[in-house]
């Protein structure tokens, strides 16, 4: 039998935090405000800006959100991962543009470092230092050793691609290859020699960049040879955060489309009367609930059943990624002509979902690795 608490470790404190977050977004971050913030300009040639509201970040710091999964001895709240997962779900539901999820990802990695430097970085996060991770190579792979950054005598050279919320973050946790193996290093956003080259991305609610390091002084978070292990240890939690974001955005797409189907009439009937709309929407709900249940189970496993947490987290990310693409597609289709326009809010969440599905490995990637674990390595070729 499992070590997991029956209720996923989701107790009253976690519920209160989640409800507070939902209220915060309902008050400060309605889809209208989101659209005004990130989609005021249209056109393929719109300027590449990282649209977000720094005041919101300050308020979140006040509310202690970035500190939720920072250990108490590092000045954090020390709540279980499900708390951050619940917040990530609300972030997704609001399409919130901020460095919060990136900071959660960094927190997961730093929690796995176990060094004083990492502990200090966690303290800073609890204090409001937004932090992101730069641990994927140019191809977007994040397996062991996947980095194009090198480190010699504490100085970094090279390039880290697909860094999330790079223009919103104050600090980066960077994987770099050293003669003795990969280590993790802390770099300030303003550090000399660091260039943040923004990607132009489709998703309007995030930003992404390539970091280039030309002789950047860095603080060692874990010594060479231990970086990959720290990332591997953090990966299940990171996948849970990414999945929860898609679960929340999927729920927004579901409820918004259901609301449209209740009110929009065609052939003198509400759209939702037609099973061609109703049944696919129900399928979206089934996909969302499957992804959500798997995500909370995986998050609970991270704290209570670590030996199974990676497999559970891959299941969650695989289910959430496919769900993200499905909910995005059906929401646009069922909104019809209006859903195909820039003025309609649906495309904001559509694009966020398509971004989320490939983040930290797509569904196919995680299923292939699950197969190796559950079915066993493949022998030869079959046809």
């Amino acid at each position: 039998m499992s070590q997991q608490p029956e209720n996923f470790g989701f107790g009253e404190d976690e519920a209160m935090l989640r409800d507070a977050a939902r209220k915060f977004f309902e008050d400060h971050y309605t889809p209208d405000k989101l659209h005004a913030l990130v989609a005021s300009e249209s056109g393929l040639d719109r300027p590449n800006v990282a649209a977000w509201n720094r005041d919101h970040w300050e308020q979140l710091v006040e509310l202690g959100w970035p500190a939720v999964c920072v250990p108490e001895d590092a000045g954090g709240v020390g709540m279980p991962l499900v708390a951050a997962v619940a917040l990530a779900e609300e972030v997704g539901r609001a399409g919130f543009s901020s460095p919060l999820l990136a900071t959660f990802q960094a927190t997961c990695v730093l929690n796995a470092c176990g060094t004083e430097a990492a502990r200090q970085a966690l303290r800073d996060i609890a204090g409001g230092t937004s932090t992101s991770v730069a641990i994927t190579d140019r191809r977007g792979e994040l397996g062991d050793g996947n980095t194009d950054v090198t480190c010699a005598r504490g100085v970094l050279h090279g390039e880290a691609a697909f860094v999330q919320e790079a223009r919103k973050a104050d600090r980066f946790v960077v994987r770099a290859r050293h003669a003795d193996g990969c280590g993790l290093y802390l770099v300030e956003a303003g550090a000399p020699g660091l260039t943040i080259r923004p990607d132009a991305i489709v998703d309007l609610t995030r930003d992404q960049a390539t970091l280039t390091f030309e002789g950047v002084e860095a603080v060692e978070a874990v010594p060479p040879g231990q970086g990959d292990a720290a990332i591997a240890q953090a990966l299940p939690a990171m996948l849970c955060i990414a999945s929860a974001d898609m679960v929340g955005a999927g729920e927004w797409l579901l409820q918004t489309t259901a609301e449209y189907a209740r009110t929009r009439t065609q052939f003198d009937r509400p759209l939702g009367f037609f099973q061609a709309i109703k049944h696919p929407l129900v399928n979206c709900m089934l996909d969302i609930d499957a992804a959500k249940s798997l995500t909370y189970n995986a998050a609970c496993a991270v704290d209570h059943e670590p030996e199974r947490s990676l497999a559970f987290a891959r299941m969650a990310k695989a289910a959430a990624s496919d769900m993200a693409a499905a909910t995005a597609s059906r929401a646009v289709q069922f909104h019809g002509g209006i859903g195909f326009t820039w003025e309609c809010h649906v495309h904001l969440f559509f694009k966020r979902q398509m971004h989320g599905q490939v983040l930290l490995g797509d569904a196919r990637h995680h299923r292939a690795l699950l197969a190796d674990g559950i079915i066993g390595e493949r022998r030869g070729e079959a046809a």
Binding site: F273, I277, D289, N297, A318, A382, A383
Partner: protein, 417 residues
């Protein structure tokens, strides 16, 4: 994985004691192996020896207080609160067999408790919980499948009795049942308001107004029955709810059947089912075993990357189903109380069907072999299970009806009728 989940703030000390008691009792009272292999579901029981063995097990679990915990003591229950779920978990963990009287406890019991008069409750509930009386369900008719309200079986009032004539189909367990819950038309002029609800002692009336005949499934197997009523006389005391309120009463029955209601059904056990021949055709793990043993190309089906991907997709759905059942008991993680319970039957039956469908891809040419061919992989049970899986997606509300219910009750969409 543990499946419990106390409503937040419930008194847990009593529940913890009860859990300890169940665990201890079960440790010493497991009934062992059945005399014959059990089918995947009680509804498929077709062998009297299995039925009698299961009745014996339910009786002893009932006598020990593990069945009907949450029913009032006056009706043979344990008089506890939120405890059946604990007994269920412990029975699941102790791998005891499922309880045979599933229609009784899942459908008839709650309906009698909420709509029966005092005498009827005292008369019928104790032998129902002890499985002394097996119950079956008489809702489906040739003309009333998804459209349940289209009942044609007619009950004519005659003093303080009713004369019943009609034809029910797909009545599982009818050939073993002592009692049936029966939905009848009492007014031909009013579709929904013209129905009344009865409990009927069918075994006592066999050959005397009641005929039970087996239906033959597409597999060639029997298991379901049709039940014919020819001037069956039933006392008015066995009517549940007022005349013309049968539809409302039936909704109580169906809400419990769908697990979206108050009383928890203890019917599920935890014994790994061997079915005929040690294969559990409804589990992805067994399908993976099959894939490992079936040759394909230069290797086995388990080496084919696309089959592997589909196996893992099924495995993920299987885990999601388990975790959703668990999450369904954590109110803080469910926005709508019926959202997850109403999904269970749909998701489970379609997963079983998709497992069956993939088995053909794994077995290849060998999937053409019948259970009676000794060279059939896994005894030919997978193609058989695939065909039987349509019972799951059709009976007790087709998958199409389940999607209507979810869209209407949970998403608030208008009825598609």
């Amino acid at each position: 994985m543990s499946d419990s989940g106390a409503p937040m703030g419930a008194d847990t000390s009593e529940r913890d004691e009860f859990r300890a008691y169940c665990r201890e009792w079960l440790a010493g009272n497991h009934p062992g192996r059945p005399p014959v292999p059990l089918p995947l579901s009680q509804l498929l029981l077709d062998d009297r020896r299995a039925v009698e063995w299961l009745q014996g097990w339910q009786k002893s679990a009932y006598d020990a207080g593990l069945v009907g915990c949450d029913y009032p003591v006056a009706y043979g229950g344990g008089g506890r609160t939120d405890c059946q779920v604990i007994a269920n978990e412990e029975m699941h963990a102790a791998k005891t067999p499922y309880l045979v009287n599933i229609v009784g406890m899942g459908m008839a019991g709650p309906t009698i408790l909420f709509h029966g008069n005092e005498d009827v409750k005292r008369e019928l509930l104790p032998p129902l919980l002890s499985a002394e009386h097996i119950w079956c369900q008489g809702f489906s008719e040739p003309g009333a499948g998804s459209d349940l309200a289209n009942q044609q079986t007619f009950a004519r009032r005659d003093g303080d009795h009713w004369i019943i004539n009609g034809h029910k189909v797909w009545t599982s367990l009818a050939h073993f049942a002592d009692w049936m819950i029966l939905l009848c038309r009492t007014d031909k002029g009013d579709k929904y308001g013209g129905l009344s609800y009865f409990v009927v002692p069918i075994k006592a009336a066999l050959g005397n107004g009641v005929t039970v005949r087996p239906l033959i499934k597409m597999t060639g197997e029997t298991g379901f029955n049709e039940v014919l009523f020819d001037d069956l006389v039933v006392s008015d005391r066995y009517r549940l709810g007022a005349v013309g309120e049968g539809w409302k009463v039936a909704m109580t029955t169906l809400t419990h059947e769908r697990g979206a209601a108050a009383l928890v059904n203890p019917a599920a056990g935890g014994m790994p089912l061997e079915e005929e021949g040690g294969v559990r055709t409804s589990s992805v793990a067994s399908l993976i075993e099959l894939a490992r043993s079936e040759p394909r190309g230069v290797g086995t089906a388990a080496d084919d990357a696309t089959i592997r991907d589909e196996l893992i997709q099924l495995r993920i759905r299987e885990e999601a189903q388990r975790q959703s059942a668990r999450r369904g008991r954590v109110p803080a993680l469910t926005d709508h109380p019926a959202r997850l319970p109403l999904q269970a039957k749909l998701v489970g039956s379609e997963l079983t069907q998709d497992i069956g469908a993939l088995s053909y891809q794994i077995e290849g040419m060998r999937s053409t072999l019948h259970v009676t061919d000794e060279r059939a992989p896994a005894g030919g049970l997978y193609p058989l299970a695939y065909m039987n899986s349509f019972g799951g997606t059709i009976a007790a509300g087709t998958s199409e009806i389940q999607r209507n219910i979810l869209g209407e009750r949970v998403l608030g969409l208008p009825k598609s009728k």
